[in-house]
Point group: C2
Chain length 199, copies 2
């Protein structure tokens, strides 16, 4: 199947947002039994459905956030789109069938790197090389920008994606990490900004 | 002691690089017994010294990389400097006594965040609130840019820093992470870019 990989524009945000929302619930593969109010996929009964919708609730951003954050001056991320010709549109009429979202990061040990935040291909378009092509494009863009490292995360339950990434020459560095991941957010971050932590 | 926290400029790179190099070995606190060829700190005998210098070898960037990566168009990182007045210069004559290096990141779940790559204060200037002030400034800059999350890492051995961060309202999210950290770099990244992984 023909497809093109190209840099995303503001006009793609609606489709990127649609795929973000679907990927957050649909990919848990809860399948058959109920219907998620967000992605309209059917799930296994009430408890699975609740879990399913809970995942969708975790998406804090709206389409307008994507538009502002990725397509105004000094964007917070970059994105690319996989698009198929008219005759290969999805059952629901979509021609934008995959996307990847990335940003540049920096290490004072190792210099420039690229961080792949998302890589997604609609289920009916998988197995056609589109995910590989998106990832390869990010590698190209990263190398062109002087990065020699690509980093990303894979959710623990997602063995299918893990196998795919391993097949693409990536490796799991989790157990070799000699650091703790730390966070500050919400009211604690505001207190820190005031110079008044923990109050 | 008076000090100022300000946005770093190109002219600060020499001092930032000096502090990066010292922090990479000096902060391992190997103390007394030999002399590191990079930071001139004394260490515990030969084996500790070798370990010490090995850490310094891991710094792949040069001062000119910092200059290009942080101070040209579309910089890969931002940085801030802590500076003391003339009368409080260090024994070695330094008035730039601390720095922090950060960049903006993005999550398609949670939106904008700021990642603190480095936070460093020269040992003789610690305990004076300079580290807190640098970190508070990053929180301010992050909030002003619309971020509501600050992330960073602490090396496992660095209990002193961990205690400091916990005192600043940050928390350790390592054990709660439900994902694997993945990487692709060097020849594997080049192969991925060619669409020819593992070859």
């Amino acid at each position: 199947m023909d497809y093109t990989i190209r840099v995303a524009t503001l006009e793609d945000c609606k489709d990127i947002y649609r795929m973000i929302m679907v990927s957050r619930c649909g990919d848990r593969r809860v399948a058959q039994g109920g219907t998620c109010s967000v992605c309209a996929r059917r799930t296994h009964g009430h408890s699975e459905l609740a879990k399913h919708e809970k995942v969708s609730d975790q998406v804090k951003i709206a389409q307008r956030d994507l538009e502002q954050d990725g397509f105004s001056k000094n964007p917070f991320f970059q994105s690319i789109i996989a698009e198929v010709p008219e005759q290969h549109r999805s059952k629901d009429g979509h021609s934008k069938v995959g996307y990847a979202l990335y940003f540049f990061a920096y290490s004072s040990w190792k210099g420039r790197s690229v961080y792949m935040e998302d890589l997604y291909v609609m289920p009916e378009y998988r197995g056609k090389g589109i995910g590989k092509a998106l990832m390869s494009k990010i590698a190209q863009l990263g190398l062109a920008a002087g990065c020699n490292q690509l980093n990303f995360a894979v959710l623990n339950w997602n063995k299918e994606s893990m196998d795919f990434y391993l097949s693409q020459g990536c490796w799991d560095v989790t157990t070799g990490l000699d650091y703790h991941c730390m966070r500050c957010e919400g009211p604690a971050l505001e207190a820190l900004a005031r110079g008044d932590p923990k109050n």
